[in-house]
Symmetry: C2
């Protein structure tokens, strides 16, 4: 029921995703009359869907605390609850992000030691698409949380793009070891020493987001959110400039008309809906946020993210890496204690 | 002597700036043989310049600490020293940024209570050019420092663009009062109450940098540096995409050729050298950093920034606002103490 368009984009999105990745079935939570009306127009979706009626829906502007108190029995609540009850392997929602995070955390609980789930951005760059996290949930992140982001981001990138050992970079203001604040320097030291299922590249800078220097970029939610929105704003600025430029006079318009095929292909390559679908990481269960303004293509892309995650072993990979980190830290403590004892003797 | 090109861009840059803003004289510090060779080719610069020879120059890759220890007598040192000695009203350098900050701080000392000078970015956006600070010097900034950035940024924007009461926004992850970490929320509370020579707009988000919602955007040096480099990277990404698109086939190339005039005007509008010249704010004196890779146009733009600042009363404006803030805080304390006393009686 969520997002700017509700069932009118969710149902055709489900149809698209079902055709691309067969063998998946869908529980559609919400107002059955509206959903059935869409399904009647979309036999490909009807064939794979079951409708679960509820009267309530969470408004896009509802505060998270309010949504938690009053959300029980809403379409969002029921969708997440179906994941907890093992009826569904993943939940996809285009609804209110704050409410989705709060209710997911309440129902599914955190697996990692994060305060709130981390949000991933799929970031188009010169070499393809990078995984960037956190982009908004945790405004302050200590070194251990940054390391958790690295582990979760690498597992997500592996599941989504099939890269065996993703490269991971830590966002900073320079590449030397002594740059940045304490949290990033400490996380850098931990990641450099740890033996995990990915390759730690070291520090990266803001410009490396566009250059595609690493597969996974790790940062706190404050910096990540500002960087993401800065990039989105700049993208809109540049496309406005191109549009203004190419309609600025008869010659420019003629040129633009002739080059229109190539310009259209460029817009598609940079189209954010091609990479729509941001998982909330750190939960005991898969929840994927679709952009509220996404169209059916975009919603289908978010559904594909959820299916890829559900079919992968990314949660086992996260657990394995977290355990190997804890074991290494314990061993380190033990050897330190041994040395201290040696010094006393 | 600094930057990628040294005197070969500095001297023609001086000539350009002198023609645009007559009545200014220049002290050129560095290797007199190289400078004189350039001046011989550039009579407009020779007419307004005096050469101050020195043998030493600070390398672009020298560490700030090393530059401070060994920099005495270098061209950068002497240029800053001429500001301290009141021989010059401002210093412009295309050299090593870290060294320029460290030596400026050592020689001129901080006027504001900052750890290091704040660096300003002149940020092109949909409405013109905004002033964004800090973009790199102070990786952690408390609420008082953010308020100082607001005061200095507004005074700079006034001096540079003639805007009587600039609008100032604080960069955050959302616009509601409770968003963000403690430092931004506290700075927000101070700026909302203070009566200063600018209009405090409230929180702005990363996307507002491109939209041009406010004249001055205030943030800590970590977030500001990441945002600036993210935007620079995205700008390069988009221009690469446009180039690739418009050379992707014979039709696209024909279109691009026809539209080339308009495309060239667009590139000029987005050209960072048009707005080159980043002042180091918070010092007892004017020091402007020109981008190391800037050409003569770019260097001239940095010189114009320095001249505009030197001719304005921006330092008096900063002092006035800092004092009015301190006075308000003292009054607040006194009235609180009075209330406490009242409660005791």
């Amino acid at each position: 029921m969520g997002g700017d368009h509700g069932p009118s984009i969710v149902v055709p999105g489900v149809a698209q995703a079902a055709q691309a990745l067969p063998g998946v079935r869908f529980l559609l939570h919400g107002d059955s009359a509206r959903i059935e009306a869409e399904l009647a127009r979309c036999p490909a979706a009807r064939a794979v869907s079951e409708v679960r009626h509820c009267d309530k829906a969470i408004a896009m502007d509802e505060k998270p605390a309010q949504a938690m108190r009053r959300g029980k029995g809403s379409s969002m609540w029921n969708a997440i609850e179906s994941v907890r009850a093992d009826e569904a392997q993943a939940c996809v929602s285009a609804g209110n992000t704050g409410a989705l995070m709060a209710i997911s955390k309440l129902i599914l609980r955190m697996g990692a030691e994060l305060e709130r789930p981390a949000i991933v951005a799929n970031w188009p760059n010169m070499k393809g698409v990078a995984t960037v996290l956190d982009v908004g949930a945790n405004v302050e992140s200590d070194a251990d949380q940054l390391v958790e982001f690295a582990i979760m981001g690498a597992a997500f990138h592996h599941a989504m793009h099939g890269v065996e050992r993703p490269t991971v970079g830590l966002l900073n203001v320079g590449s030397e070891d002594q740059k940045g604040h304490e949290e990033v320097r400490e996380a850098h030291a931990i990641l450099r020493e740890a033996k995990l299922d990915f390759d730690y590249h070291g520090f990266v800078e803001g410009s490396d987001l566009a250059y595609g220097v690493v597969d996974v970029v790790v940062t706190d939610g404050f910096t990540g959110n500002v960087a993401l929105k800065t990039a989105e704003g700049m993208a809109r600025f540049f496309s406005n400039e191109i549009r203004t430029t190419l309609t600025s006079g008869p010659l420019a318009m003629l040129g633009a008309m002739i080059a229109s095929g190539a310009l259209k292909r460029m817009r598609q390559r940079l189209d954010p809906s091609r990479v729509n679908g941001a998982p909330l990481l750190g939960l005991n269960g898969i929840v994927v946020k679709s952009h509220g303004g996404a169209d059916a293509n975009g919603f289908a892309s978010a559904v594909r993210v959820a299916i890829n995650l559900a079919r992968s072993d990314f949660r086992a990979e996260i657990d394995r890496n977290l355990k190997s980190l804890t074991a290494a830290a314990a061993k380190d403590e033990a050897s330190k204690a041994g040395q201290d004892q040696g010094a006393v003797e």
